[in-house]
Subunit: 267 residues, 2 copies
């Protein structure tokens, strides 16, 4: 194995719900040179389908409680609808995408989240240790582009709903042990981490571990951004070369220009 560089790109929910923006993003992603992995989130379709099927969506702190019925819905939507929409679009751009859940080729196992105050149901947590780098490397070496749905499995026949930010971070950390330069980029619909969501000029260009703690304690960073940044900082601390959060429209600028775009996370 002689891989020098790898991009792990996460694309977030809101873009996935918007066909035009998704297609634009995927065109940029197709133009990204070198080895790359795309991890996608779930978007709103799972909740919409659940609602139409009469299954109640229950969230806790932005995380979906996944009972057996909900697991069926997220499996359909994440591995079916969204994953295949992305793969067929990338293929039309001549990007040799291959859609994978964690069960496919056993690339990511997970441990069902233990029940503490809340029973999250069929939800799995992953780490760099549960990523099967060997099998994923085979795809990359064949110049295939893994497109990973936010689902893993327990190797006992059960699929598990798994946070896409968590998967992206675990992948980047795992690959850092065998690839000299791994860049992890979280793409979403904002410019990066913002001081004030209502002020478009309040982008925080760089956060390190110290001011992350401060920003959290001040309440500047809160809600869904906390687990996202926890995953991102975990990657920084465990040796991923570069971790950045930026607007999906800025993917190619972020990668190809020396300009600092979005929010950079450092130790």
């Amino acid at each position: 194995m002689n891989m020098k560089k790898l991009h792990v790109i996460k694309i977030g929910g809101n873009i996935i719900d918007d066909d035009t923006r998704l297609r634009n993003f995927l065109l940029d992603f197709s133009h990204l040179r070198g080895h790359k992995i795309l991890v996608h989130g779930g978007g709103k379709t799972a909740s919409e389908i659940s609602s139409k099927l009469g299954i109640e969506t229950v969230m806790n702190n932005g995380r979906r409680i996944t009972d057996a019925q909900t697991l069926k819905v997220v499996t359909m939507v994440y591995a079916g609808t969204i994953n295949k929409k992305i793969v067929s679009c990338l293929q039309s751009n001549n990007c040799n995408a291959i859609g994978l859940s964690g069960a496919d080729a056993n690339i990511i196992t997970a441990i069902k989240r233990p029940v503490k105050e809340i029973d999250f149901g069929f939800v799995g947590d992953v780490s760099e240790e549960t990523v099967n780098v060997t099998n994923l490397l085979m795809f990359l070496e064949m110049n295939m582009v893994p497109v990973i749905a936010p689902l893993t499995h327990d190797k006992k026949g059960n699929l598990l709903n798994t946070n896409a930010d968590n998967i992206a971070s675990a992948l980047a950390i795992a690959f850092s042990k065998v690839v000299p330069e791994v860049k992890l980029i979280y793409c979403f619909d904002k410019k990066g981490v913002m001081k004030d969501l209502n002020d478009d000029s309040s982008l925080i260009p760089c956060i390190n571990g110290d001011n992350y703690s401060l920003l959290k304690s001040q309440g500047t960073i809160q809600k869904g951004m906390v687990p996202k940044l926890d995953n991102a900082f975990n990657a920084v601390q465990k040796g991923v070369s570069s971790v950045r959060i930026c607007n999906a429209e800025q993917l190619l600028n972020t990668v190809n220009t020396p300009k600092k775009i979005g929010t950079e996370l450092t130790v």
Copy 2:
């Protein structure tokens, strides 16, 4: 490439709807030695989900008319629900399954069926020429087991609903050109091709091209069995080493014993 032998196994709809029988079949399939590909059909789930979502299911001669809404449902169900259920079950049997639609790694393209008397909508027809043997061989050489959902793509960003019997036959023919021994086995819930569906002792052990024509003209073989057998005979005529239709419970007996099980198709 030094592959001597390949099994292409198709598992039909009724078994897929029955969790216990499906698990038993997948356990047998896991025990099948050597290189193998599994192609699965759709089962009844797509119609059930369509009905719950208020989408009308329209069939013509046993084939689903696939409008844009229906395509969304079959994509969810075939590539999501069914494919991942099979893959996670095989993985729990230590069979290194990898679930694929035709779009993944561009393994099978299709041509949207031209509108004649009937507009089938987003339905694709495949042949040995639209199978990407090179990419599929890479998976087989890595000792992965492709599990193929009945969906293909047009390489222009569109998925197409595609008959699983057609896919299995196209795969077997395509591989026959590079693998000396390719065996195609259609597994379903009957013993094989029956003279009389109500008489369990009326199995036809062997059909060749001549008596196939006769059996069709007599009305002994009719309805859904005609396209299934047309696909099977196409494989026989184009050089697939062995083509057989048998009960899913007999998979290992069919492969491992010299006993003639099910219906054998010959030139």
